[in-house]
Symmetry: C2
Subunit: 762 residues, 2 copies
C-alpha cells in the first residue's frame, strides 16, 4: 500500500473528529440545511482549518522539516523555531501552505529529473495555484473521483500535468502513487506526458493540444448550468458545482479558446473560473515575441469578470481573494490572470528554458538549498503535507455523503418526472428500449434528403433521451438539427433548453461537446455543421475519440452534391480523413432506415464518438434492401439477383450513391447480369466483422467490384480489391446545380453502368 | 465584346484627358515626385472627381435614369430635375454615388433572381462599402489585375461574392461580364458560389469558409510590410499598397480571425483595414442568439484602431471618414465596424431571411419602385455607372504606368542586390539553378532526424531563394525551421526579417501563409508545427490546394516516434487525411537526400502546396539507395537483390520506417531471400507515373508486399495489393520512450522480418 492511502487510514480519525470551524462562512455542520448553505456560502472558504490538536502535530513536523541540516535550525522562513508555537492560526496556515507548495515543487523537480522528460516550467510556476485549488478551493472526493457533484478541474495547459499528478497524489487519489510519479512518461504508466482521462482517475478530460481544455471547461460548466436549471428545486439543489480551468499562453493564443470564451461570456457561465498562467514565456521565448494583447480587456469585452493576481509567489492569499470574487459573480464567468514565474525556484526561473527538460546538478542543489531540502531523498513528502491535503479531501467525502442524502430526499419528494429522469441520466442516459422510438420508412414513403431523415430521428430521440442536447455552428436549419419541441439553452432565460446555439464556432462547438460528454451525467451531445467544416474542428473530433467522449457529429452536405456553394463547401477528402481516426465511427447512411440505424449504433456506443454524414439533396428512393439493424455490421448485401453467392459484379455504395448503385444494378440486371449491391455504411464496423461474414459479403471469387462514393477514393481499394474500380472524386468539386456537378464527376446511373460493363467485359 | 470594355474604349478619351484635380491632396500629375506623394497623400482621396465636360454628360444621364417612368419626372432624390444642374460638385457626386449603389443593388437582385441561388443579403447590405472601395478607395487596374502594387481586396465573408462580382464588372474587369453575372453558380461559370481566385481575375484569394479571408488579408499585409522594408528606398517607394478586407459576423466568431487579428495588432500592420459588416444577422437568426461581445473593445485590446460607422445607408461619406482614419494610422491596423441592414432594399431587409435565396415577385416590384427602376430590363446598367467606375480604374492604370517608371528608375539606381533580387521575386522567386544549393549526404555522414536534415536544407535555401519566409507556431526549435542568418519579422524593429513568429496559432499561420503565397510577389512561405497539429489548420491547408497557394507545410514529429508527449501529440491519421486532399503533395522523406528531394519538388511546384512530414527521432542510417532526384517520381526502388525484376517480396516504407525495411531486408537476404525495398515518399507523385514505371516498381507478379509506416494503414492496400500486409497504427499512440512505443506497435526490424517471413511462407 502506498504512502498516501496509508496515511489516509492512520490520520483520518485525528483530523476529522473535531474540525475547528473557525471559518465564519462554514455552516456545513448541519446537513439538513446544506442545500441552502451551499448556495449562500463560498465553498472554497468552506474548508476546515487546523484544530488545536493537529496544529501541535503540524508544528513539530514543520520544525523537523526545517531542522535539517542543523545549520538552518534557527529560522523557519522568517520565524525562529520558538516563535512558531506562538504565531496566530492564519500566519501558521500560511507557513504550512508555503511548505506544502515547496513540497509540490520538489516532487515536480524529482519527477522530471527521474524521467529525464516532462515539462516542469509551468507546473513549478503554478504550484501555488494548483495547491490552493486542491487544498482550499475544490470539492472532490479522492475515494470516488466520479462523484457527480464534484468540482471539475481542467488543465488546458496539459503539458503542466505534473502539477496535477502531484496534487492528485498528495490529495490521496489512488490513481497517482509515488511509483506513478516515478514512472512519468513511461510506456503504460498512469502518468503519461499529457493528462488522459482514460488513464488516470481524477483527470476529467484529455488535454495537451492547446486551447482544447478551455472549450472542455465551457462544456462542463454548460452541463452544470443546464442540469441545475432542469433539476434543482427551491428546497433542494442537486446540481451545484464549479469548474476550474488553468490555461497558459498557448491556450490564450489558440482560436478555439477565444471561441469558447466568447460563448462562455454570452452564456453567463458564472460558475466557470479560468485561471491564466501569465508566465510571459512560450516554447520559443518570451511571449512578447508574439503576443501584445491586453488580455484582461479582451476577456472583459467578451463579457467576463477579469481579475489580475500580481504576487502569487509572495502572497498565496491573493488567489483566494480572486476566487472569492469569482464566487460572488452571479452573471459572468471569471478570468483570473495570475502573473507567475515559469520554473519558479530553478535558476531557469522566468525563462522559456524551464518550459521542458531536466535541470543541471548545480541547479538542483541550489533549489534544495533554498528549500532546506538537502538531506531529502528524491520524492520525499513531509507527512504533514498529506494530512494537510486530506483535510480538503475529507471535507469532500463529507460533502459527497451529504449529497447522496440530498439525492434520497429528492427522490422521495420529486419521485416522478424529475427524479426518474435524473436517475436515467446518472445511469448513462439510455432508458430501456429507447431504440424503439426510431422511425421506420418503407419504399412507398416520400423521399427526403438524409439530413431530413436525420431530423425525424432527432425529433423522436429527444423525446426518449433526456440527455440529448446540442446544436449547430449557425446552420441549424441547413443541418436540420433543431429540436423544435425544446427551447434554446440561454441564460438567464432558458438554461434548461436543449438546443445549443454555437454561432459560427465549429472548433469550440466540438471542444464544448467533449466537455458535455465527459461531464459524466448522461448528457448526449450532438454537434452539427457541413461535413467540409469538420476540418475546423478536426483536433477536437480526434480528442473525442481519444478521450471516450461519445459526441454525435452530425455532418450534412456530405459531398459535391451540395451544389451551388461550390468547392469551398463541398467535402472531398473529409470522409477518408475521418475514417482514419482511430475508434471514430463514420456513418454515411443511404436512406431513412440506414439513418435510423446509424443513430442507433452511435448512441448506443456512449464512449465512442460518431460522425453521421448526411446529404443535402434528396435520395432517389427509400430502398427495399436497406436495414436499420444491419448498420451495426457496417456493410451488408442490399440486393442480389445471383441466387447463389456468386454474382458477376458487386456494386458498393455509401450514402446517396447507394441509390445510384441500385439504379445501375437494375439496368445491368435487365441485361441479364448477376449483380450484387452492397451498402458500406460504416467501414470500421465492417472491418470488425468475422472473416466469414466479410467473405459472405465480398466473396473472394468475385473480383469485379466497383466502389461508388462522391468523395476521395482513398481507402476504397480495401473493398474493391486489386481488380476493382472506384468512382470517386479526386479533384475539388465545382459550383453548379447538384445534378450538373454530379454528372461532371461521373455520378449518374449511366456512368456507373458503363463502368460496370467495361469491367464485366474485361 | 461586352458592354464594359466597349465603354472603356468609347469614353476613355472623354474622361481622362483633363481630369479636374479639385481634390487638394491630389498631386499625382507629376510622376517624378510620385513616390513622395504616395506616401504623404491618402490614396483613396487621390481619385479624380468630375470634370465640367463629363459632369454635363452625367447630369443628362442622371435625369434620364430618373425620368422613367414619366410620373417620376419631378424629383431626383430630393432634387427637382432643374436643381440638378445647379447643385455643387460634392452634392452632385453624392447623387451619382447614390445612383451607382442603387445599380449595384439591382444587379445583385437580378443575378440572384436569375440564378435562383446565391446570397444577396450581405451583398446588398454592403453595397455602399463595396462601391465606395472600388470607386473611391482602392488602386487597381482592371486591364492588369495582377499589377504588383495594386491594393488587395479580400472578401472574407465569401458568400457575399455577388457584391464583388458586380463591382468587378462595373469597374471593367474582363473576367466578369454581364453574361457571367447571368451565369452565377452555374457549372463552369466565372462566377461560382464563393469567390475563387483561380477562376475569376480580380479575386485575390479563395474564400467562403469563414474567417479564412481575415488571415489571408493579414498575410497580404505582412507581405507588403516585409517587402516595403526590404526594397523601398528613401527616394523610391516601390512597395506601397493597402489591404482591405470585409468580414461578417461569422468571420468575427471564428477562432482563425481572432488569431490573425491578434497577430496583425502585434505586427502593427497599419496598411490593413478590416471592415466588419455588422448586420446583426447570421443564418440562424439575429446575432444576439450567439454573440454578445463588445467587438470594438476586443479589437482595441488586440492593438487595433477601432472605428464605428453608424449610418452608411444614409451617408456614404461616413465610410470615407473611417478610411481616412485608417490612412492616418501609422502604428495599428484599423477595424471599421459598419452597421448595415442585411438585404437592404428588400422587404426582408434587416432580417436573416435575406441571407440567401431569391425574392418574391411583390418584393422585387417594390424594390424596383423604390429605385424608379420599373421599366428596366434585368441586368440593366446605367452607362454613367460604368464611366463613373472607370474614373477609378483609369486612375489605377495611370498609377500602374507610373509604378513601372518607378521600377525602371529603381533598376537604374539600385541595379545590384536590391533590383536584381526584386526581379527574381517578380518572376516567381526561383533564380536559375537554385536547386544546386541543396545539401547532399553520403552513407558515412553522421545520422540525424529528418527534421535535422530539413534544417540544413532550409539554411541553404534561404541563401538562394530571396522569397523564402516563414516560421512556426511556437515550435521553431522543435521543428528546426528557424533561419539563423536572418532576423525576426518584427515591426518596427525588423520588418525585413524572414523569420515569422506565429505564436501558438496554427490556423492563422496557415491562413496567413496562403495570403503571403497569393500576394504574387515571389514570396515562398513555410509554416511549421507538429504533424498532429495540422489538424488545427486543416481547412487552410485545403484552401492552399484549392487556391494554388504553394505553401510549404513543414510538419515534424511525424509519428508515434515522437515518444514521451503521448497520444495527444502523436499523429496517426494525419498522413492519410492529408493524402486525400486533392492536389496536395505529401512527402515523408526517409533521410537527408530524400528530404532535399522533397524540398526540390515542393519548391518547384509554386502553385501546389506541400506537406513535408519529418521525424523527431534520428533515422537509423543515410541509406545507399535513396535519392533526391527520385523523389519526384514519388516512389522508387531503393534496393533489390533479386537481380532481375522478380523479388520474392517487396518491403515498402516511408520516412523513418524505410530504414526498418532496409534493416529487415538485410536480415532476410542473409537467409537467402530475394527482397526489394521501395521508398514511397510521395503517393500522389507515384500515382501520376506511367503504368510501365509503376509495373517496374511493383511488378504484378510479386504479390507478397509489406507496407511499413507508423501511421494509419488507410490507403496502403493500393500498393501492397490484395495479398499484402500493412504494418501500421490503428490505435492512438502512447506516451513512452520512442523505442518502447515503436516496439509496442511493431516497428522493429525483428517484427518486420517476422511478418515478412510469415508472408513468404504462406
Amino acid at each position: 500500500m502506498a504512502i498516501s492511502s496509508l496515511l489516509l487510514k492512520s490520520y483520518f480519525p485525528l483530523i476529522c473528529t473535531k474540525p475547528s470551524l473557525n471559518n465564519k462562512n462554514n455552516t456545513h455542520s448541519n446537513s439538513s440545511i446544506l442545500h441552502i448553505s451551499l448556495r449562500t456560502n463560498p465553498p472554497h472558504r468552506a474548508t476546515t482549518r487546523l484544530s488545536n490538536t493537529h496544529r501541535l502535530s503540524w508544528q513539530n513536523e514543520l520544525k523537523n522539516a526545517f531542522q535539517q541540516p542543523p545549520s538552518n535550525q534557527n529560522l523557519i522562513e522568517n520565524y525562529s523555531i520558538d516563535q512558531i508555537d506562538k504565531i496566530d492560526d492564519e500566519s501558521f496556515q500560511k507557513l504550512v501552505d508555503k511548505k506544502c507548495v515547496d513540497n509540490v515543487r520538489m516532487l515536480i523537480v524529482d519527477a522530471v529529473q527521474n524521467a529525464k522528460a516532462g515539462h516542469p516550467g509551468m507546473a513549478m510556476g503554478m504550484a501555488e495555484v494548483g495547491y490552493y485549488l486542491y487544498r482550499h478551493a475544490m470539492r472532490y472526493n479522492p475515494r470516488n473521483p466520479k462523484w457527480f457533484n464534484r468540482d471539475r478541474f481542467v488543465l488546458s495547459a496539459g503539458h503542466g500535468c505534473l502539477l496535477q499528478y502531484v496534487c492528485l497524489h498528495l490529495a490521496g487519489f489512488e490513481s497517482v502513487q509515488i511509483e506513478d510519479l516515478k514512472n512519468l512518461c513511461k510506456l503504460g504508466s498512469r502518468t503519461p506526458g499529457h493528462p488522459e482521462n482514460t488513464v488516470t482517475d481524477g483527470i476529467e478530460v484529455t488535454t495537451g493540444p492547446l486551447g482544447q481544455g478551455v472549450a472542455n471547461a465551457v462544456g462542463l460548466a454548460l452541463a452544470e448550468a443546464h442540469l441545475a436549471a432542469r433539476f434543482n428545486k427551491p428546497d433542494c439543489e442537486l446540481v451545484d458545482h464549479r469548474v476550474y480551468c488553468i490555461m497558459g499562453d498557448g491556450c490564450a493564443m489558440e482560436g478555439i479558446s477565444h471561441e469558447a470564451a466568447s460563448l462562455a461570456g454570452h452564456w453567463k457561465l458564472n460558475k466557470l473560473t479560468l485561471i491564466y498562467d501569465d508566465n510571459c514565456n512560450t516554447i520559443d521565448g518570451p511571449t512578447s515575441l508574439t503576443f501584445s494583447e491586453d488580455i484582461s480587456a479582451r476577456f472583459r469585452a467578451l463579457g467576463w469578470n477579469a481579475i489580475t493576481v500580481d504576487n502569487i509567489h509572495d502572497n498565496m492569499g491573493s488567489i483566494e481573494d480572486a476566487l472569492l470574487s469569482a464566487l460572488n459573480e452571479t452573471r459572468k464567468p471569471t478570468f483570473i490572470r495570475v502573473k507567475t514565474l515559469i520554473g519558479r525556484l530553478s535558476k531557469k526561473e522566468g525563462t522559456f528554458k524551464s518550459h521542458h527538460g531536466t535541470f543541471g546538478e548545480d541547479d538542483l542543489e541550489e533549489m534544495k538549498r533554498k528549500l532546506k531540502w538537502e538531506n531529502q531523498e528524491p520524492f520525499h513528502v513531509i507527512p504533514m503535507v498529506y494530512r494537510e491535503m486530506q483535510i480538503q479531501s475529507d471535507q469532500g467525502q463529507k460533502l459527497e455523503r451529504e449529497w447522496f442524502s440530498k439525492l434520497d430526499y429528492y427522490k422521495s419528494k420529486y419521485p416522478h418526472q424529475e427524479a426518474a429522469e435524473f436517475e436515467v441520466l446518472l445511469n448513462g442516459g439510455l432508458p430501456s428500449n429507447w431504440e424503439s422510438c426510431l422511425p421506420k420508412w418503407s419504399m412507398s414513403d416520400s423521399v427526403d434528403a438524409t439530413r431530413g431523415y436525420s431530423e425525424k430521428c432527432l425529433t423522436e430521440l429527444a423525446k426518449v433521451l433526456p440527455g440529448l442536447i446540442g446544436g449547430s455552428a449557425d446552420l441549424a436549419s441547413s443541418n436540420k438539427v433543431y429540436l423544435h419541441d425544446y427551447q434554446d439553452f440561454s441564460v438567464p432565460h432558458s438554461p434548461s433548453g436543449r438546443n445549443i446555439r454555437f454561432g459560427v464556432r465549429e472548433h469550440a462547438m466540438a471542444g464544448i461537446s467533449n466537455g458535455i460528454a465527459l461531464h459524466g451525467s448522461g448528457l448526449i451531445p450532438f454537434a452539427a455543421t457541413f461535413l467540409t467544416f469538420s476540418d475546423y474542428m478536426k483536433n477536437s473530433i480526434r480528442l473525442s475519440a481519444l478521450s471516450h467522449a461519445g459526441v454525435l457529429y452530425i455532418m450534412t452536405h456530405d459531398s459535391i452534391g451540395l451544389g451551388e456553394d461550390g468547392p469551398t463547401h463541398q467535402p472531398v477528402e473529409q470522409l477518408a480523413g475521418l475514417r482514419a481516426v482511430p475508434r471514430l465511427l463514420v456513418f454515411r447512411p443511404a436512406d431513412g432506415n440506414e439513418t435510423a440505424g446509424a443513430y442507433k449504433v452511435a448512441i448506443r456506443n456512449r464512449e465512442v464518438p460518431s460522425v453521421i454524414a448526411l446529404s443535402r439533396q434528396k435520395v432517389a428512393a427509400n430502398l427495399e434492401g436497406t436495414s436499420a439493424n444491419e448498420v451495426e455490421r457496417g456493410g451488408y448485401i442490399v440486393s442480389d439477383n445471383s441466387g447463389r453467392n456468386m454474382p458477376e459484379i458487386i456494386l458498393i455504395g455509401t450514402g446517396t450513391e447507394l441509390c445510384l448503385c441500385e439504379g445501375s444494378a437494375k439496368m445491368l440486371r435487365e441485361e441479364g447480369r448477376k449483380v450484387r449491391v452492397v451498402s458500406l455504411v460504416c467501414w470500421r464496423l465492417f472491418d470488425r466483422q468475422p472473416v466469414e461474414y466479410k467473405e459472405q459479403v465480398f466473396p473472394q471469387g468475385v473480383a469485379k467490384r466497383i466502389g461508388v462514393e462522391a468523395g476521395s477514393p482513398l481507402g476504397w481499394r480495401e473493398y474493391v480489391g486489386g481488380e476493382g474500380l472506384v468512382i470517386g472524386v479526386e479533384e475539388f468539386g465545382a459550383s453548379g446545380a447538384y445534378l450538373d456537378t454530379f454528372k461532371k464527376f461521373g455520378f449518374t446511373e449511366e456512368n456507373v453502368t458503363n463502368v460496370a460493363k467495361s469491367l464485366l467485359e474485361k
